[in-house]
Subunit: 222 residues, 2 copies
DNA sequence: CTAATAGTGTCTTTTAGACAGTATGCC
DNA sequence: GGCATACTGTCTAAAAGACACTATTAG
């Protein structure tokens, strides 16, 4: 049987960009330039440009660069939202991604980007609230079993900062001693020789670490 | 800025249908009716019909019914494959799903469906080998922490069958005693009162169970 | 009785969690 | 010395894994 050609859906990518701010996870939003929902904050996203994007991932990189001025950042495919009703204009497919950025890397007070608490971003257009909720759930689920949360920190960090970011991601208190033990046993970190840092409030200087591998997945829970 | 409209990619769904056969997991393939790769076995899939499908999930149900004669079956979104090169004809988006079916529910010797070992399905067109590999990995990862593998069994099953299907999915031997203990502690199963079954070879009749909830996710590993 | 699968009990090792205690260095 | 944070040690409890043991019933 020969399949007749159907009217094609429109295909976009949407990016849940998460970054720590004020002790919680925030999502970056951008006021929409056009109708529908013009001027309302929404996820960073855009059409796939079939004439220049080689893949959905390339489209994500292009859009992050163009709309948020960000290059070379961790992102991962989340889920695809595809239905006749999610966009009032047309049958629409959104390939959703989540991206992680260290605190402060986004703060351009002149720029149009908004940071809103990820758990309460306000009411957003389309199914963007649902997409953010699923992104948070995914980050939580994968977070405990991988070094993904470390992508929310700069390359060099202290054990306390690492613990804090895991707590933020997981939304629960973790025991410091057990956390250090597990990190040691899983051999995740490389100590930065000789270097120490003093925080403003701390008396004792603290050891600095970086990840041994850009990304580790494990069986045990951190 | 107003985004010009771009030529839209073609959007399909592809389904990795897995079912136990001959002690391992097999994937259902269908010879392609048209070019490209006409007559070569490939994943069950098809275009999204924007005029009749309300969502990608509806398209999956429609395609499963039309191409494999299957209705009302467990399936879950896997990942979306989207690039300029995966289909020689055009920029193509495939929203991939994996589906699970009990052993024997597919065996229509007259039908065109083929069953091939999921770990070695032979060389398939497009990126279908990669999609199957990712489906298996996902099933393995989620399998240990959920009752998803039970969707590969009929509604009523014995503890030994459940253990066996988890072993097939996980690709490792599991201790029977520990398995029973965990299943009991997690309170997953409902005993079918009074009913017992004798298998051909077994002497002692065995208790029959069904899942208490259609789907459970847990923290512990089964 | 034996064979064959169904199902239980128990011991050891590993991992998690709680929490108290020590270490360091600035004031 | 006091304070605040960095880091360690130790005890307990929960879970995982190994494996031997008992139970049931057809033949």
């Amino acid at each position: 049987m020969i399949e007749t050609e159907f009217r094609r859906p429109v295909v976009t990518v949407d990016i849940v960009m998460l970054t720590p701010c004020r002790g919680e996870l925030c999502v970056a939003l951008l006021p929409r330039p056009n109708e529908p929902f013009a001027d309302q904050p929404a996820l960073i996203g855009g059409y796939i440009h079939t004439d220049e994007d080689l893949s959905a991932e390339s489209a994500v990189r292009r859009i992050l660069k163009a709309k948020a001025g960000i290059g070379d950042i961790f992102f991962e495919q989340l889920q695809t939202f595809a239905s006749a009703t999610r966009d009032p204009r047309d049958w629409s497919v959104s390939i959703a991604y989540f991206a992680l950025l260290p605190e402060g890397w986004l703060e351009d007070p002149e720029g149009p980007l908004l940071l809103r608490p990820a758990t309460s971003p306000g009411q957003l257009p389309f199914d963007h609230n649902e997409i953010i909720a699923i992104a948070l759930e995914r980050l939580r689920n994968k977070g405990a079993y991988s070094t993904i949360p470390a992508r929310l920190l700069p390359e060099v960090f202290t054990m306390t900062e690492l613990l804090a970011i895991y707590q933020t991601v997981m939304g629960e208190r973790l025991d410091q001693s057990a956390f250090r033990r597990k990190v040691r046993e899983l051999d995740l970190l490389e100590e930065i020789e000789g270097e120490k840092r003093r925080t403003e409030s701390a008396r004792r200087p603290t050891t600095l670490y970086r990840l041994k591998r850009p990304m580790s997945v494990f069986d045990r829970r951190l």
